[in-house]
Symmetry: C2
Subunit: 281 residues, 2 copies
């Protein structure tokens, strides 16, 4: 069921989430219900008409669901807020990150391909992180050297540099070298809801002597892998899904995965740059 | 109006082309009509059921239109055939290149970004071709250093290397260095019909001393431009449309055009990797 803001679709509720929202809305007296709901659409009630009111209504709802253990994804409450945009590309309200997929709102992240190039052979190897086994989402999965959600009010490059320090103890004089190389966009239906994600992609060529090390407890360790190993582990489903997509994009951009190796080359390129049908920044 | 092969859509006719096809089909006796046409769909008649028969029927039609000056685009008859694929990714028939857009069939090309990098400043400049003023299509427009259609039976890389010699007199020991870096895909409605194009993209880092020179009479000249100039000329609409798209893709991949410079960054990335709704190779 689509979520509207005025006349603009900005998200979509899965069939697990929609009945729970109806149920919650009915706990209010008719005049005080925060949402206006029918089988075709969900939107805010008329009187919920400002940034602050919308943000408050969404936050109250997510807190209620979290405290009632309605949705597992809210166990990973992050105290990190993401902006949601209206049809004029203005921020309409903000929402706790762990609840975004429940509404199918757009989310934004950045992923950094940290790689080294052998100066003689020009062979490229990539630093791969393994996520901590205790991380709320995708524990133990393989990941880019650094990745993070783009929280209000940071831009993609600022986020990338900040996360380099937080996740890989990387000094600014190295992380300043990140090169924005595009973005991957995709929509996936998951247990926690609908992910309509845009991941900004950065390449970072690291000194061959550089060794990333975990800083917070989000990362179990870092491993330098050649692309033979990376491709094998991708096929083995050892990577977090969106990190795998970012690495496939890297391999295509750098001529490591070519049209002669992959018969679905053109389809992959379209699928990892899928248009998101909701307004963005 | 969609063009079907069995149950699979493989193209689409614009409202200029559809009535001309109906008219042509009626010049045949009922039992001998090559096409089966109603207002919802166009397909081959049942008895046109092999590679050779389909190719012949299409060729006869295009020759008839060419000889009757029905469509301007056929004045550029190239004697170059492109494959058209069925739903099993097999070649169903072939078609003269200048007539493809009349049916909206998919077409494939390759574009090469020939660039140099200043060894000290790392500034990148790109070699830009100006198309000959007598070329049938887009005369005088700016273009990539080399570009060409992928004709049966060459693959994208083979075509790229072949065109480097034909269009820019580039020796094989240089053109062998082309790196496949993805593809751009787009659909555009033009005077000549519907272009559903996939352009394979190659980067080629050239020696700073290298000077391309025209070989055939398709190119007026080659110019080395910095990206300040390229962006100005892009905005000025001096580039052939698809070559401009390829250069925008290059600028995004190399961090020359970034998310902070362009508010439609994510939309551009989706639009230049548009899924093509017809089967491919």
């Amino acid at each position: 069921v689509p979520f509207y803001l005025d006349t603009v679709k900005i998200g979509a509720l899965s069939k697990e989430v929609f009945p729970e929202l109806k149920k919650y809305n009915k706990t209010f007296k008719r005049k005080l219900r925060p949402f206006s709901i029918n089988s075709q659409r969900v939107t805010f009630s008329d009187y919920i008409d400002t940034f602050d009111k919308r943000s408050q209504v969404i936050n109250d709802l997510l807190c209620y669901w979290r405290d009632n253990n309605t949705f597992n994804c809210l166990k990973g409450w992050r105290n990190e807020v993401f902006p949601v945009f209206d049809g004029n590309h203005e921020i309409a309200f903000r929402i706790e990150r762990s609840g975004i997929a429940l509404f199918g709102f757009r989310a934004y992240g950045c992923h950094i391909n940290g790689y080294i190039e052998d100066p003689d052979t020009h062979e490229i190897k990539m630093w791969i992180a393994q996520r901590s086994l205790t991380k709320q989402t995708f524990p133990g999965k393989l990941d880019n050297i650094v990745a993070g959600g783009i929280a209000f009010p940071y831009n993609p490059t600022e986020t990338a540099i900040k996360e380099c320090l937080e996740e890989a103890s990387m000094p600014n004089e190295i992380s300043n070298q990140v090169v924005p190389c595009g973005a991957v966009t995709y929509i996936s239906v998951e247990r926690r809801g609908i992910s309509a994600d845009s991941q900004y992609v950065f390449d970072l060529k690291l000194p061959t002597s550089y060794q990333p090390k975990p800083n917070d407890n989000e990362v179990k360790g870092f491993y330098l892998m050649d692309f033979k190993e990376i491709i094998e582990r991708l096929k083995n489903n050892e990577f977090k899904m969106n990190s795998g997509i970012v690495i496939i994009d890297f391999m295509i951009r750098h001529g490591i995965l070519t049209h002669t190796m992959e018969e679905n080359y053109l389809e992959i390129l379209s699928n990892i740059h899928r248009p998101i049908p909701f307004p963005g920044p």
